[in-house]
């Protein structure tokens, strides 16, 4: 008797770009109200090719090249969402989302509230963000501080191939507007991943301990996760066993996971590319300091981008939080006590 083993679909190396593309494709196939729109998302498939093939598969009415006007794009998406569609908007680069800021703050973030829940806006705004790709000015901003400070917005950012798929699906499925920050320097990062049976959609708002440790906690997200994991490996040589928390969403902020970890380790370093002053790390550090007051062996420190406009490509290596700077900072966590 011959048995045919039902093999689980093979996980193969896939990029984050592919996972994001697949998430939109699956969402569009399942739900006819999902519409992708933005500059160059059609025939070109986006400048990063994240929307590759969608216009071909679903037609230009479902994946639409818009005129070049970000406020218009987001404003039109608001109207489409008012009518019951689920627009997925691509902003071509972080800094090119700024023209849409008024629409974002005064309408997108507030519409549900203004109408006492009568008119939610299920819009996903995809924003490639961060640096490390040798991009010239205006192409490498880490603008998450603006979004985080805006009530009504959900702010999500994946750091792995699997999360890229799962979190984008969850964002598109959300009835609230989501700023979906895509770490552009991880677009071509690879992981074994099964595009045929992509993992279940994780909920938004749950941080994940990516590496357990006992000496101190690194809290990070998006583009800085791989750097933190590398730093944690390197730290073993110095005798530190670092825990690494990947926030995955900045709003909602999974305070409990972070607080539990820091209470365990007694020390914390927040790591992100965005500028430090008034950046998301400020809130995280302030919350940890407040909630873990009696558990902390040392002040919460931050490793962030400098408080400067994003540097030109030839200098960005100095700006970005790297393994050495993280380790130097861990070393400052008052170990002598």
């Amino acid at each position: 008797m011959t048995t045919v083993a039902v093999k689980p679909p093979a996980a193969k190396p896939a990029t984050m770009a592919q996972a994001l593309n697949r998430a939109m494709r699956d969402a569009m196939a399942e739900d006819p109200t999902v519409h992708v729109m933005g500059e160059d998302v059609g025939a070109l498939g986006g400048v990063f090719r994240i929307t590759d093939g969608l216009a071909k598969e679903f037609g230009e009415d479902r994946c639409t090249d818009t005129p070049l006007a970000e406020a218009g794009i987001l404003g039109a998406a608001v109207g489409m969402a008012m009518y019951g569609l689920r627009p997925v908007v691509e902003m071509q680069f972080d800094a090119f989302a700024y023209p849409a800021f008024e629409q974002l703050i005064s309408h997108v973030a507030k519409m549900r509230n203004r109408t006492k829940g009568a008119m939610p806006l299920p819009i996903t705004i995809r924003v490639p963000y961060g640096g490390g790709i040798g991009g010239v000015e205006h192409h490498c901003d880490s603008s998450e501080a603006y979004y985080v400070a805006t009530p009504g917005l959900t702010v999500v950012t994946p750091a792995t191939v699997e999360d890229a798929y799962g979190l984008l699906r969850a964002s598109i499925a959300s009835d609230d507007p989501v700023i979906f920050l895509e770490p552009k320097r991880l677009y071509w990062s690879k992981a074994d991943w099964s595009p045929e049976a992509p993992a279940a959609v994780p909920g938004i708002g749950e941080a994940l301990v990516r590496r357990t440790g006992t000496s101190a906690t690194l809290i990070t997200y998006g583009p800085s996760l791989p750097v933190c994991l590398e730093a944690a490996e390197a730290a073993r040589e110095e005798g530190w066993d670092l825990e690494v928390v990947d926030l995955r969403s900045l709003v909602p902020f999974d305070e409990e996971t972070v607080v539990a970890s820091v209470r365990r380790t007694g020390r914390a370093v927040v790591v992100h590319e965005a500028g430090g002053f008034g950046g998301p790390g400020a809130e995280i550090a302030a919350r940890i300091s407040e909630r873990c007051f009696h558990h902390l062996e040392a002040p919460v420190l931050r490793v962030t981008g400098f408080d400067i406009p994003y540097p030109p490509p030839m200098l960005e290596k100095h700006h970005l939080p790297g393994v050495d700077r993280i380790l130097d900072t861990v070393a400052r966590l008052q170990w002598e006590n």
Binding site: H35, D61, T66, P67, A69, A71, G72, L74, G75, A76, A77, V78, G79, M80, A81, M82, Y83, G84, L85, P87, P99, E102, Q103, S106, H107, K110, M111, R112, N113, R114, T115, K116, G117, A118, M119, P120, P151, G152, T154, S174, D175, D176, G205, V251, P252, F253, E255, E256
Partner: protein, 386 residues
């Protein structure tokens, strides 16, 4: 001497420009008439539908009364602020009248009257301006977008909604209202462009009432007319007397018809005037003289129609009285409605920010609840003590 005659300058050195080179459409049909279109007091008035005009008249009278009542309510402290549309009632009312049940209206902050004319309860229409919750009605149920205060931002919404309806095969037209000042905003431009590129079923109604708060049109634009802006988007621009409700109704109806039948968007400039100050809080004497106001008062939308209808024997004293009585009834109901102190639940502050309340909002709500309970307790105790 032509180039052909030049020695050696034969046809060979002239290249034919590539195909994409010529204008795609003829601009002429897009250009507005040189003068605002009028019906009342012109031969075109012969075509008027008496029934429609009587309805218009009643609505105008009601609208004027609504304006008066709302302004009175500001003086009584019942309304935080009111931007009046006295003098602009024909625009407001025609905008509402030309829409079908399934169509959508996108009002600016000034256009509560249009919402009322579309059937919204005046008390609901004034919720925002009263200091009560931001939007006082369910926009989807009424198909009236929330009043938009950030100028021109509602225009791309109208385009998106109309486009979405068209994609889904629904028969929906969106009519969006904006002021002369609002046309200077980038959002106006982007919305017009999207509408034309997508051929969305949307009508843009620009009420040129002469001012953006204190800034007169001449400091706002150097265009021949605002309607001329349409041509730059490949959309017809129409110039119409905004105080002539018959003309407004006709031009708006035509634009709505065009949109509904797949003919794309239209932009209409209604030339009108803001007779009162920007809002009750404004002092219009700082930036304009009486003479201008008086000239416009002589071109009053209600009087224009009343004269026409009276002259044609379509309106008599009884008709005028009936309109007045209906308006008074509305005003009385509005007064009563606004006298009732609204009951707001502070907990609503936390209930609609997200579909699911975040932990942080739960904490904040709990804090406020505790504060309120403590305050109540205190009051209670004080009450007991006295």
């Amino acid at each position: 001497m032509t180039v052909q005659e030049l020695p050696g300058a034969g046809a060979s050195h002239r290249s034919t420009p590539p195909p994409a080179w010529r204008p795609r459409t003829d601009a002429a049909p897009l250009l507005p008439d040189p003068e605002p279109y009028r019906v009342l007091g012109t031969p075109a008035a012969d075509r008027l539908d008496p029934e429609l005009m009587r309805r218009c008249y009643a609505e105008l009278v009601r609208g004027r009364r609504y304006n008066a009542q709302a302004t009175a309510l500001t003086r009584q402290g019942r309304l935080a602020v009111y931007p009046s549309t006295v003098g602009q009632e024909a625009c407001e009312i025609a905008a509402a009248m030309v829409l079908e049940e399934q169509d959508w209206l996108f009002p600016s902050y000034r256009d509560t009257l249009a919402a009322v004319a579309r059937g919204l309860d005046p008390v609901e229409a004034l919720t925002l301006l009263r200091g009560d919750w931001h939007t006082g009605y369910d926009p989807r149920e009424r198909r009236i977008a929330p009043l938009s205060t950030p100028l021109a931002t509602q225009l791309p919404h109208a385009v998106g909604l109309a486009h979405a309806a068209r994609l889904r095969g629904d028969d929906v037209v969106a009519l969006a209202m904006v002021g002369d000042g609002g046309t200077s905003e980038g959002d106006f431009h982007e919305a017009m462009n999207f509408a034309a590129v997508w051929q969305a079923p949307v009508v843009f109604l620009v009420q040129n009432n002469g001012f953006a708060i204190s800034v007169p049109l001449a400091k706002q634009t150097a265009a021949p007319t605002l309607a001329h802006k349409a041509v730059g988007y490949g959309m017809p621009g129409r110039l119409v007397d905004g105080n002539d409700i018959a003309a407004m109704h006709e031009v708006l109806s035509e634009a709505v018809r065009r949109a509904r039948s797949g003919g794309g968007p239209t932009m209409i400039e209604a030339v009108t005037y803001r007779i009162e100050a920007h809002t009750n809080a404004d002092d219009a004497t700082r930036y304009r003289g009486d003479a201008e106001v008086e000239a416009w008062k002589a071109h009053d939308p209600i009087e224009l129609l009343e004269r026409e209808l009276t002259a044609r024997g379509l309106l008599d004293e009884a008709g005028i009285k009936a309109a007045k009585d209906a308006a008074e009834a509305m005003a009385a109901a509005l007064r009563d409605g606004m006298n009732a102190e609204p009951v707001l639940d502070p907990m609503d502050l936390f209930g609609h920010v997200y579909a699911q309340q975040t932990g942080r909002l739960r904490e904040q709500a709990a804090m406020l609840r505790a504060e309120l309970e403590a305050a109540e307790q205190e009051e209670h105790e004080e009450g007991d003590g006295s």
